[in-house]
Amino acid sequence: MSSIKNSFLEALVACDAMAAREIADEVLAGENAFRELESLIVSSCDEIGNGWMDGRYALSQVYMSGKIVEHIADLISARSESPAKRNPTTAMAVLNDSHLLGIRIVMSVLKSRGYSVLDYGKMEADEIAEKAAADGVKILLVSTLMLNSALKVKDLRAALSARGLDVKICVGGAPFRFDPALWREVGADAFCESASNAPDAIDNLAASMTGGKL
């Protein structure tokens, strides 16, 4: 299997959707097809995510590979025997910014791994809190590009608390990469340096809730 993993990873980092799809089809024709394909997707996304964090891969590769695996995952769910994950009600938002790349990449990774996430797009802190209350959100993934937006996560925490909401906040984005202490300072519960960390972050936050119930 390891040569298939290597080939799949190579196709993804080369942004070669056709080659990746051929390998996925080969895996789907074999035994334990969906489990093997999920394992392939998970290990490749993790490798690309780690590679971006340590400088081996570029953001363009993270984005394009995310698109490719999301498309493959869509094909799986269309013929699916593989059950979707059951995660606590989770939403993702970009705080005070129109740059949606981060949210797109994370959504691709989560979708390809079977997680269900509400896409709030661009919102301000109060709007997010309002919508989270209405939707019964338990986990919020918040992406920011600018320092002043990152600092507004404090306002989001305050807005959630004012509504009596016990919501876990996981943050991501450039300001948090340049100041490792910032996520704690703004009252977040976790920080994802890379999109590939998002599934584990959701699982860890879910486990930290009482009973991890939905």
Partner: protein, 348 residues
């Protein structure tokens, strides 16, 4: 004592001046000086002129920074800018989400853009004040990086990888605009142009894609700019790409706080000067001692032999950075940056 201009020119020629030049790339701090909101401050050239002159006198840096805000060029294209009370003006909804528009896309004429004319007015007035004693730095967004604001990162990556004809058309339009805008600023009195190109960093784009795209765009554009340029990675990484950046014709590279400035200087090998790399996100919390430590580390890493200008790593010091920290950086730059830098050898 040297003037700021002599100091900077000396270091760029690969020699050691009297002390390490310090580029305090302050923009919104001018609004604080004048007691204006950020939006009001950027509404008139005269406010920015007054702000920059006050900042120069207050902190004793070595440049005037004629940068208003990143989406200024987007405004020229008819796009949206969103102002806030505590941060840089940001681009709004990208105006080119429908990438079919690229086929008929024509860049605006500089003379027709009131927002750009305001910057030129500011540069002319600043030039009258500082003449040839202090370098005035104009700013452009590289044609290869501007599309992030024009259409969003995701659409841009899509056309970069999947639509070579659209990509070529977009670059042609952006390159023409960029060169025209840079030259207008140089004609108004700017000494050099800071060419912001984070998409050309190793953080954002692979080597192979960069060589097909951003590298070519930079070579074509910089060859048309009638003055010296610094290519700023705006916090993006560049180790491993310095050789190619040098081939574009730029003179300086602005580098990330996440890379080792000594390694960058070594890779530059005299082909490029180094600008950086104080951590702009962390500096808002620095004590005086931490600011001094950060300055010393940069100087120890890159200042020997000249070819180095101390600055922040993003190309703009955040609004949240207190005056005390900027003073501490300036003081430390003088204390530890006076050549010869014997203390570096003495400290091993």
């Amino acid at each position: 004592m040297m003037t700021s201009m002599s100091r900077v020119l000396t270091t760029l020629s690969g020699k050691e001046p009297d002390r390490v030049p310090l580029f305090l790339l302050l923009t919104m701090h001018g609004a604080k000086e004048l007691g204006l909101s950020i939006k009001e401050y950027f509404s008139k050239a005269e406010y920015v002129v007054e702000g920059q002159l006050r900042l120069l006198k207050k902190y004793e840096g070595d440049c005037i920074y004629a940068f208003f805000y990143a989406p200024l060029e987007i405004e020229a294209f008819g796009g949206e800018v969103i102002y806030s009370d505590d941060g840089p003006p940001n681009s709004g909804e990208p105006f080119m989400r429908d990438t079919a528009k690229i086929a008929s896309f024509e860049p605006p004429r500089i003379a027709d853009c009131q927002k750009l004319q305001k910057v030129l007015e500011a540069i002319k007035a600043l030039k009258n004040e500082v003449r040839d004693e202090v370098p005035i730095i104009g700013v452009v967004m590289a044609p290869f990086s501007l599309p992030v604001m024009q259409m969003g990162f995701d659409k841009y990556f899509d056309i970069m990888h999947e639509s070579p004809e659209l990509m070529a058309r977009l670059m042609a339009a952006n390159e023409q605009f960029c060169a025209d805008w840079a030259n207008a600023q140089l004609e108004a009195g700017a000494t050099a142009i800071c060419y912001f190109d984070p998409v050309s960093s190793t953080t954002i784009t692979t080597e192979s894609k960069y060589l097909e795209t951003g590298y070519q765009a930079a070579r074509r554009t910089l060859s048309k700019i009638k003055g010296p340029t610094a290519t700023h990675m705006a916090s993006g990484n560049c180790l491993g790409r310095i050789g190619k950046l040098a081939e574009t014709g730029t003179a300086i590279v602005g580098v990330s706080a996440r890379e080792n400035i000594g390694e960058i200087k070594k890779e530059c090998g005299g082909r490029l000067s180094v600008l950086g790399n104080l951590n702009g996100i962390e500096m808002r919390k620095w004590t005086r001692e931490q600011a001094e430590g950060a300055v010393k580390k940069c100087i120890a890493g890159a200042a020997s032999g000249g070819g180095f200008i101390l600055s922040d790593n993003h190309g703009e010091i955040p609004f949240q950075t207190p005056d005390e920290t900027v003073f501490a950086i300036s003081a430390a730059a003088k204390k530890w940056g006076t050549y010869p830098l014997d203390w570096i050898e003495n400290n091993g």
